[in-house]
Structure formats: C-alpha cells, structure tokens
C-alpha cells in the first residue's frame, strides 16, 4: 500500500523496514488520520460540551434532581407539572414570546435602516460603523444592564430628558407592569449592530450593474430599493431573522440583571425562570425539562420560518 506523503522521504521503503519514527510519520500523513486529527479540537469540544451535556439533561428531565442529591426517576412528572401546575411557566413563556416577537422585527428594521445609511462611502463611514456596532458588543454586559436600570429609574436620564421638554415625570419605567418589558425591548433593539453589519455585507454584494441598468430605465430611488435591494436582501433578512429569533427566545442577561422578573413577573424571561428553578429552587430536573420544551419551541418556530421561505425569500435560479 503506497500512500501519499507530504514528506516524500518514506515513500519508497518497505513497510517492515521502517523505524517507528517513520511509521509514525507515515501514520500521521494518511489523509484520513490527518482529517481526524485536524477535526479533533471540534470533535472533543462537541462531545464534551454539547453531546454529553445534552444527553445528561434529557435524562435529568425525567428525574427529580435537586443538584445536591442524586437524581430520582419520576418519568413524565416534570412535563406534566409544567403544563398543568406551573403558572410561572405559562407567564414566562408569554413574556418571552412577546419579547421575541416585538423586539426582533424592530431590531432588524433599525439594522437595515442604519445599514442603508452607512452604505455610502464617506470619510467617517468607518467610524460610524464602529460606533453603531459598539452597543452589540457592550449590550450583553452587566455594566450596560446596570446602566439601563439607572437610565430608566425614577430619577434617571429618561425622566430628566422628558423634564427638559416640560414633561415633569416621576414615572417608574421599570416599576410599572405595563412599561417594564419595553425597557428590555429597547435595550435589545439598541443592540442592532451585528445584524447591521451582516446587512452591510449583503448590500455590498449587490452588483452595481443592476442599479445602473434600472436607472437607465428610469427607475427612481424608491423603485430601485423596492425591486432590487429588497429582493436581493431577503436571504440575508431570513438569516438574520432566524438568528435573532433564536437569541430572542434565549434572552437572559437583561432580565437577570435589570429586573429579575419584577414587577409581577411581567419581565420574567423563560430562561431566567429556568435558571431560578434549577439553581435557586434546586429543582434541576424540572429545569432540564423546561430546557427541552424550549428546544422544541425554538425548533418549531424555525421550521415555520423555513416553511414560509419560498413565499418571500428570493433565490437566484441556477441555470
């Protein structure tokens, strides 16, 4: 068996005459071995941090597991309790849905609008791009979450700015059950940077010939946007929509740091409820069951989005 070798030194020798060093070299130069070795970092990481924890969590979801004691098999009890006897499950699910359904389209709208503005090349474009991208880097951080709480406090910046316009408000944005969720939605919309960058990249991919041809035919700027930019952007919008929807369902930090679900659980995200159940109430089995239900929900939503794909996402026909 002659195998291709990059070293070229050991190629012509007989298998038996090789020293162990040369055998090793030859072994590592086999294409299949090299492939496995190169993928090893991923395979190890995937097994250790994805597969094993997921299998374990599936097992735990059928147990009563208080973390400090060993798990007890209880069958479907956790799932039954969740759907029949846990008002907070439904409340948090509703809050999360509301959050995702409102904040994601708003965020994408902002991202697209800003991307269109920043598309033009000027001397300061680079600066603006970075400036608008910064919130998404900072946005998930604890510091910004705390800042947000201060801004919307009764004596915070928002009320002071309103005061400048003659509205003397001591309204508690975070304390009122009707507005608290909106402070979190605003925070999420403010972090439109990463979607914006993806939109920018996609805008640059659109061939300028199309615009030139359209102009020649007398299309105005709105027409060019509607009939060229938008259709060619739909695959990117679709991608952003799916990514943002998933991260919307899995939102955690904002609620955990800013509101802790207060007031009256109107800002209690599903993930925070799950986290509290597992680590504060020590019901990790129940928490694991909640995680699997969320996985199903996200899966269903993603499937639904894919099902609508052929109605609105433009795909170039291969010839």
């Amino acid at each position: 068996m002659r195998l291709h070798s990059l070293m070229g030194l050991v190629e012509d020798m007989d298998e038996e005459k090789l020293t162990w060093k040369q055998k090793l070299v030859r072994f590592f130069n086999r294409e299949s071995v090299a492939g496995v070795v190169c993928s090893l970092p991923f395979i190890i990481g995937f097994l250790a941090f994805m597969v094993v924890p997921m299998v374990l969590s599936l097992f735990y979801s059928f147990t009563d597991y208080s973390i400090v004691a060993s798990p007890q098999w209880v069958g479907l009890k956790n799932y039954i309790t969740m759907f029949t006897d846990d008002p907070l499950f439904w409340q948090s699910l509703w809050v999360t849905l509301l959050f995702a359904v409102i904040s994601v389209p708003l965020k994408l709208g902002f991202a697209l609008a800003v991307a269109l503005l920043l598309q033009r090349q000027t001397r300061l474009t680079g600066f603006y791009r970075i400036a608008y991208y910064l919130p998404s880097i900072l946005g998930g951080s604890v510091a910004v979450a705390i800042l947000w709480r201060r801004m919307f406090a009764q004596d915070g910046v928002i009320n002071s700015v309103l005061g400048l316009f003659g509205i003397n408000s001591h309204f508690s944005w975070l304390g009122d059950p009707r507005t608290a969720i909106w402070t979190l939605i605003t925070l999420s919309v403010w972090q439109f940077g990463s979607s914006m960058l993806i939109f920018l990249a996609a805008l640059k991919q659109i061939p300028t010939e199309l615009y030139e041809a359209a102009s020649m035919d007398g299309a105005g700027s709105w027409r060019r946007f509607k009939d060229i930019t938008m259709p060619l952007l739909t695959p990117t919008i679709f991608f952003n929509l799916i990514m943002q929807m998933i991260s919307g369902f899995l939102a955690f930090t904002q609620c955990y740091i800013i509101t802790q679900g207060k007031p009256l659980n109107t800002t209690l995200f599903y993930m925070v409820h799950m986290y509290n159940t597992s680590f504060t109430y020590y019901q990790a089995g129940y928490g694991a069951a909640m995680a699997w239900v969320m996985l199903l929900i996200v899966g269903v939503f993603t499937l639904l989005l894919f099902a609508t794909k052929r109605f609105w996402v433009y795909e170039e026909k291969m010839k």
């Binding site: 990059l6 070293m7 060093k21 090793l24 070299v25 590592f28 130069n29 294409e31 071995v33 090299a34 492939g35 070795v37 190169c38 993928s39 090893l40 970092p41 991923f42 190890i44 990481g45 250790a48 208080s66 973390i67 400090v68 004691a69 309790t81 006897d85 680079g126 791009r129 991208y133 709480r149 406090a153 009764q154 508690s172 975070l174 304390g175 009122d176 059950p177 608290a180 990463s194 960058l197 993806i198 920018l200 990249a201 640059k204 509101t259 207060k262 007031p263 009256l264 659980n265 509290n276 680590f279 504060t280 109430y281 020590y282 019901q283 990790a284 129940y286």
Partner: protein, 483 residues
C-alpha cells in the same frame, strides 16, 4: 522533531476543513472582517491571505487543544495537603476582614495556603449547588439554616464530632444550645456557628427622635403600624416592612402565637386566617400610603446592603425609617449612613416578644465531603472560633462570637454600633427569648426566594387583598414542599 513537523504539516495540509469549522463558529466575525477588506485588494494579495489563513488555522487548532487539555487540569480545586479553599457570602467589609483572618492563619501555620472565595448571598448558593453536583465543593463552606437540611441530609457535609472529641476543634467555651443548633435531626454535628445574632429591627433613631416618636418596649404589630403612620404623616418618610423577603418575619409572628410555620417538612398552617394579619399589614401600608411603593424596589439590587432604603436615599418617598434584619448587620448599615443619622435597633414587633424572639446561631462553618484534609479544616474552624486575634479582626461582623470568653477580648476596640449590637443580643434578646425553630424543610428555598416575595408584591401592586394573599401563599407553599 520530524514527527512534530509532520503533524504541523498535516494541519496546514487540510487547513480548509479547519477553516470551515471556524467559519461556522465565527460566521459573523468573518463577515465583519470582509467588510473592512477591500475586495480587489483581497484578490491581489491572494497568496498572502492564504498564508494568513494557514497560520490562523494552525494557531487556532493548537490553542483549542491546549485549552481543552487545560480544562482537565483546573478541576483540582479542592485541597491537597496544605491548601484550603473557603467559601462564604458577604459584603466587601466582611471579605476584607476574612482575608486578614486567613492571612493570620497562614502565618501561624507555615506552608498552609488559603484560598478565599466569596459571593453575594443568592449567587453563593447557586455556585455551591453546582460545586456539589460536580463533587467540587470548597473545603470549608458557610452554611445557613434554610439550606442546612439540604446539605446535611444528602451527606455532603462531614461529621465534626470526631474532631471535637480529638480536641482539634475546641468547643468547650461554646454554649450547648449553640453547638446543638449545628446538629442534624439524627444528632450529627455538621456545622459550627460563626456568630450569634437575633432578629432585629434597625431604625433611624435620629429621625424618630426629631419627630418625638419612641418605640415602646414590648411592641405589637398594631404599635408598629401606628408608628409607621405617625412617621409618614410627620415627615413623609415611608416604611419597608420587610418587603420582598423570606418567611422569617412571618415565622416570628406565628411563634408569638405559639405556632410554628413548618413542621415535619410540611407547612404547619392550614387556615389562612392564621397568617392573614401579616399580609393585612402590607395591604394597610399601601392603602394608607405609608409603605414604600413597590416600584422603588425595581430600581435597586435587593441583596446589596448599600442600596437598602433605610440608608441609601435622602428623599422621603424612597426612604424607609426601618429595616427588618439581623442584629449583626447594624455595624455595616451604620457605616453606610451618609447623612450622619444614628441607627438603633429593637426587636421585631410581636404579640409576645418572649415567645417570638430567639438567639440565632448563624452563618455556620461546615466541612464538605470533598475536603481532602478535614483535620486542617477543623483546625481552621477552631482558629476562627477560639483565636483572640481572629475574633478581634472579625468583630461582630458575623454576630457575637460564640466563644463566651471572646466577648471580653473583643469588647475593647469595638465601635459604638458593634457594642450596641452586642448589648442588644446579650441584654435584650438572651434573657427574653425562646428556643430557635427547627431548620426549614429541604424544599423551602422556593418559598423563601420566590413565593413569599411575589405574594407580597401582588399585595403592594393591589392585585391581591390580604385574604387572597394568605390563600395563595398556603396553596403555593404546600405545593412547593410536596413537589
């Protein structure tokens, strides 16, 4: 050397597969990079880009492999021979003091290295639980009564009795009641209190004096409500009647009537009329305007003592004249006062103070089953309890020292508020109190951290009246205990 080279070569040989993997992870990062690289330049410098990619792939893979193997090494958090990890919860003040004590122990025991780990109360228990499930708990942990049964009954703590018998851990100067508070139902000694404290209402004495209001000695809940109303009417300052808190106040109230909140792992209250007065107090407070608006609490971190409405606000609408807490927190609250007011403390109100009140051996030290050198850990606890210098450093931070002789030792050099806290425990509580209730049942943490706070919240937001609140509390709490 050749082998290494061939490995490296094979890395670069199939760098494309690695790139695909890293692409998946860093999809958006790459999109960002592309934005800033002009396309034409990219084509012109194609060769260079390929080289960079190759280099990147190699560095990335090696880095990843190293980080994976590093994971395996860092699991050894627990003690080898001369190394102790100690975890507790607390404020910055406590952490500084604790660090001094640990240094002192290291000095007196050359070769011993102590690693202190601290967090805020709620984070502490989350961290500890994950440590317990991964068999990686610190050697010595701070323990609290609501969690005691959970850890003791699941064999996560070791019995300290052998070390007491061997003389390593000397508890001869500690009262029997205090020692027994650290025993499980079977009588095993799992924890040693790090200080004694008692339920205490901290209040702004300067404010009350200026309004000419005094708190009667054996005051009832009606007296409390009257004072709240008077303070509010005279100054606009409101009341925080233990809002968004655990069940300790309710338990205290029931003790005054000779009842217990929990018995045999179950809720001992079945009739909502028994606990309705407690919730009625909140309802009255919000209806009459003297209770703090619940919105105030959405803007602060409840577990951070420096944001407590008693000391953190200067405007009347956000300020509370009192705080339902524990006697040992007086010094740190006093140190955080900014307007120069003097704080004082008194008992929580009750229909019968003697029945309600109790000395609370608190913030226990326990040694976990993950500890590799329990003998050294026991010696550390002994040092904490019996060493004069250590006691001097800690002062009354975790309460009055459990070692009866240490009281005299630490007395000199203590601040005024420390002395007030000690006097309160020794002169007010000790002679006029009853035995502490049994530790709360294993599944009570949900009641303490979620059910009770949200029921109080719903009253203050006027979604429930006192009767409905009592009903809701009973049904949810018993469900949680039986889940």
């Amino acid at each position: 050397m050749d082998t290494l080279k061939s490995i490296l070569d094979s890395f670069s040989y199939s760098h494309q597969s690695v790139m695909i993997l890293s692409l998946r992870k860093g999809g958006s990062a790459l999109a960002v990079c592309n934005l800033f690289i002009d396309k034409r330049r990219q084509v012109a410098k194609g060769a260079k880009v390929t080289f960079m990619r190759r280099a990147f792939a190699i560095v990335a893979s090696i880095g990843f492999l190293c980080s994976v193997s590093a994971c395996g090494q860092s699991t050894q958090t627990s003690a080898d021979g001369e190394h102790l990890t100690i975890a507790w919860w607390g404020s910055q003040d406590r952490n500084d003091k604790q660090a001094q004590v640990d240094k002192l122990f290291e000095k007196e025991n050359p070769g011993v290295k102590i690693d202190g780990q601290f967090s805020q109360y709620s984070d502490y228990w989350q961290k500890l639980a994950t440590g317990a499930s991964g068999d990686q708990m610190p050697d010595i942990i701070a323990m609290d009564s609501p969690y005691f049964s959970q850890y003791a009954d699941n064999d996560l703590l070791i019995d300290l009795q052998p070390y007491v018998d061997a003389g390593t851990l000397d508890l001869s100067e500690v009262s029997k009641a205090t020692v027994d508070a650290g025993r499980s139902e079977e009588g095993n000694l799992y924890a040693v209190s790090s200080g004694l404290n008692a339920p205490a209402l901290m209040y702004d004495k300067t404010l009350l004096d200026s309004l000419g209001i005094t708190i009667p000695k054996n005051w009832t809940w009606d007296d409390f409500i009257d004072i709240c109303r008077e303070v509010y009417e005279a100054s606009g300052v409101k009341t925080n009647a233990g809002y968004y808190r655990d069940v300790f106040v309710l338990q205290y109230l029931l003790r005054g009537e000779g009842k217990e909140l929990f018995k045999n792992g179950q809720l001992n209250v079945t009739d909502e009329s028994q606990i309705e007065p407690y919730f009625a107090m909140f309802q009255k407070g919000i209806d009459e305007g003297w209770h703090l608006d619940p919105t105030v609490f959405t803007e602060i971190s409840l577990s951070a003592i420096n944001q407590d409405p008693l000391i953190a606000y200067s405007d009347a609408a956000h300020r509370s004249w009192c705080n339902f807490g524990w006697s040992n927190s007086l010094p740190s609250l006093q140190s955080l006062v900014t307007n120069g007011d003097k704080l004082a403390l008194t008992t929580w109100p009750s229909s019968n103070i003697k029945k309600s009140n109790y000395v609370h051996p608190s913030m226990y030290w326990a040694i976990t089953k993950n500890c590799k050198n329990p003998e050294l850990a026991a010696r550390w606890i002994d040092f904490y309890v019996n060493n004069a210098q250590a006691n001097k450093i800690m002062g009354t931070d975790r309460g009055v020292p459990i070692n009866n002789k240490m009281y005299a030792v630490i007395k000199e050099g203590l601040g005024e508020s420390d002395l007030t806290a000690i006097e309160y425990l020794r002169k007010v509580v000790e002679p006029n109190s009853s035995t502490i209730s049994a530790p709360m049942p294993e599944k009570s943490s949900q009641i303490n951290s979620s059910i009770m706070p949200s029921v109080q919240e719903e009253i203050l937001y006027k979604r429930l009246d006192a009767k409905q609140a009592a009903e809701k509390f009973i049904s949810q709490a018993s469900a949680a205990l039986n889940r």
